[in-house]
């Protein structure tokens, strides 16, 4: 049976993994490669790295880091941040990443999704989006897409954008709730479910995981295919194994041997 995936998220800033709440108060957590090995050995099903300062500093993503991770772990991992062209995507893929995550770039230039999918296959192109609750008339779902680390509203409806991205070639959608991110109070289930029901590709819940029950809810109630965890595991309050144990007990298909 296909299992539900747990994906630790590593925000990388100047070559170090950091964790902040809504991009503030960043704390140094460690070396990205060491942490990747630790999580892979600990049962993570996949990893995601965001080079969170690359876009702001207008520099390309740290390819050396991608290469080092690819040498050290042999599970799938996605990379986002600092990607501005198909050539950038190619560098990341050739360095050994399984997937590329595009977010603000795809809003500015949706063709990058189609170009990436044509070049590398849909399974390589992940659309990340940061929806926020909104009563903007152009957003009938009640959720609006934001960009640039929540700094800009786009006027785009989150569900419509997800559907369009899949039509263009996105193979997976990460729904990262602005309102829930960093709170550890649980995923934003409503928008995750709206998107999971609207698109034929896997949907990843992101932002807000604090206890295993939050992941169980994302899988059972929001119909997510995977869930991103950060603070709850980075803080060592929970291990991947403990989360999986709870998932398994709740009847969720879970990979238990690694």
């Amino acid at each position: 049976m296909l299992t539900k995936r747990i994906i630790p998220c590593l925000d990388v800033r100047n070559g170090r993994v950091t964790k902040g709440v809504k991009f503030k108060n960043n704390i140094d957590l460690g070396d990205p490669v060491e942490m990747a090995v630790e999580y892979s050995d600990g049962g993570a099903d996949e990893l995601v790295f965001y080079d969170i300062t690359a876009s702001a500093e207008q520099r390309p993503i740290d390819i050396g880091m991608v290469e080092s991770v690819a040498k050290a772990v042999h599970i799938p991992f996605a990379v986002g941040g600092g990607i501005s062209s198909v050539a950038d995507m190619e560098r990341v893929i050739l360095a050994g990443a399984e997937k590329i995550s595009v977010n603000s770039l795809a809003v500015r230039n949706p063709a990058i999704i189609a170009d990436g999918a044509r070049e590398f296959g849909r399974q390589c192109v992940v659309l990340g989006m940061d929806p926020v609750k909104s009563d903007t008339p152009g957003c009938p779902s009640g959720y609006e897409v934001t960009t640039r680390g929540y700094r800009e509203l786009t006027g785009m409806d989150a569900v419509e954008w997800a559907k369009r991205a899949v039509d263009l070639g996105a193979g997976e959608i990460v729904v990262n709730s602005v309102d829930a991110d960093g709170t550890r109070q649980g995923f934003e289930l409503t928008i995750t479910r709206l998107i999971a029901d609207a698109v034929p590709v896997p949907v990843v819940a992101s932002g807000g995981a604090g206890v295993p029950k939050h992941l169980i809810d994302a899988f059972n109630l929001a119909r997510a295919d995977a869930a991103i965890v950060a603070g709850m595991v980075h803080s060592k309050e929970w291990t991947i194994a403990q989360i999986k144990d709870e998932m398994h007990r709740a009847g969720i298909p879970t990979r238990l041997h690694w």
Binding site: M1, L2, T3, K4, R5, S40, D45, A70, K71, V73, H74, I75, P76, I93, L94, A95, G96, E98, F120, G121, R122, Q123, G171, E172, P200, V201, P202, R223, D225, A226, R255, H257, W258
Partner: protein
């Protein structure tokens, strides 16, 4: 030397890195003579079947791949497994290499089952044969699957279909899943492949 066949069907970096991680000497090549001279051959592949077959033809690799699949330890992965069979439904129907008998089909649309299948799924292994243990989980990414056939050694279920997730005929082994992305269990499979002794081709009565 293990040769990874490069026929412009996807990214070979992770396959190369995984084989290197278990101590294999690897060369990535699209040259038929290099494939012919290899001790063992890895035949990966991601992407569309039609392109893959066209690329194999353009690069003059078809005969070299057929011969390698017949005569030396050979590991097909993902699309590199699918195109070993007779024909696929992909791209409106494409004739493939026909090294193994069988058909490749698209997953049906089933509520709650996203296509492609992306993630870790378990493999039921028929009998002990050194590569797979029953119930192990591997990483899959695919929209098409190989129908169960006489050479099936591993079965997996998705979208209401039980399909061949691993096949073996003599020294020819192929997996729908990605051992190079399947962590420790995937590396163990690759190590087992690298350790299979190359034997004379007569070993396989079907060839």
């Amino acid at each position: 030397m293990t040769v990874i066949v490069d026929y412009r069907a996807g990214n070979l970096t992770s396959v190369r890195l995984a084989i290197e991680a278990v101590g294999g000497m690897v060369q990535v090549s699209s040259d038929p003579d290099t494939v012919a001279a290899a001790d063992r051959v890895v035949f990966p592949g991601v992407g569309a079947a039609k392109n893959a077959m066209e690329n194999l033809r353009e690069l003059g690799l078809i005969d070299a791949v057929r011969e390698a699949a017949r005569s030396k330890p050979f590991l097909g992965i993902c699309l590199g497994m699918q195109i070993l069979f007779d024909r696929t439904e992909e791209d409106g129907g494409v004739d493939c290499l026909g090294i193994l008998p069988g058909q490749v089909r698209r997953f049906p649309n089933v509520t709650g089952c996203k296509v492609p299948e992306i993630g870790w799924n378990s493999v039921s292994a028929n009998a002990p044969h050194g590569f797979l243990n029953d119930g192990e989980e591997f990483y899959f990414v695919h929209s098409y699957y190989v129908e169960l056939n006489p050479f099936t050694v591993g079965r997996t279920s998705y979208a209401g279909v039980e399909f061949a997730s691993a096949v073996r005929r003599g020294q020819l082994f192929a997996t729908q899943f990605h051992p190079e992305k399947s962590g420790r269990i995937g590396l163990a499979l690759l190590r087992a492949f690298l350790n299979t002794p190359a034997t004379e081709k007569q070993e396989c009565p079907q060839c």
